[in-house]
């Protein structure tokens, strides 16, 4: 059981790392590989996309515009197993170099991705993702 948990954590961390690398080379195909075929993705604007192909298609144009010079980094994911083959994963992230949808420089961002990841034959993929920007002010 401990061995399976360690394997799951490792696979999840590697998936997040692959996603971040794909983001930072602005490659929509590589980015989408961390998603399950029937994934649901909801972006920081509340827009939802269903399926790996739609997620790739949605990222392709923004990797050429808003996010073409963006750089993403993440904190260590917080992982909670919710069933044998499902995990809830929170990832705090930071982004520099983006522009907003109307082309203005976007101030450095901090946000939170929350993921439901699914074990498909030892390969943990994102089944559901919601992304959010965190507000600039914080409660003490």
């Amino acid at each position: 059981m401990i061995r399976e948990l360690i394997a799951a954590e490792r696979s999840i961390q590697m998936a997040i790392e692959r996603m971040v690398r794909a983001w930072n080379i602005h490659d929509p195909g590589a980015y989408s590989l961390v998603f399950a075929e029937d994934a649901d993705f909801t972006n920081v604007f509340g827009q939802s996309f269903h399926g790996k192909q739609a997620i790739e298609a949605q990222h392709a144009p923004i990797f050429l515009t808003m996010f073409k010079s963006s750089h993403l980094s993440t904190e260590q994911p917080k992982i909670r197993l919710i069933s044998e083959n499902l995990a809830a994963v929170d990832v705090t992230w930071y982004m520099t170099g983006a522009t907003d949808p109307v082309g203005n420089a976007w101030p450095d961002r901090k946000g939170l991705m929350n993921l439901i990841m699914k074990n498909e034959d030892g390969n943990w993929l994102i089944l559901i993702m919601h992304n959010m920007d965190l507000p600039a002010f914080t409660l003490n």
Copy 2:
């Protein structure tokens, strides 16, 4: 199977309705009843609380301050079963009458709760909740 699905949807919708009613009478105890004992709750500021008791304790003071005159309403939840006893639930919400943490009137809000709900003997409870404000501007 269809019957179980309908029962699940109904139970989930009723849980959301109870949560909204509890919010609108600003009752932290009633609000927390829709959460599982070991729930994780992350608010729009990215702050996390673990356990039904902590979630109640976190809401008690804000129901007396920021949210004492707030009113919450929601759209129909979007429900996706991710295992026999787990569902991912997205709920778009609207809020009027809140103030921000420093006491200024908070403009009318629109946001998105994303929930992982768990069937405990026919009673669907929130196991994981992340809340977010949606930005005032929207893409096209």
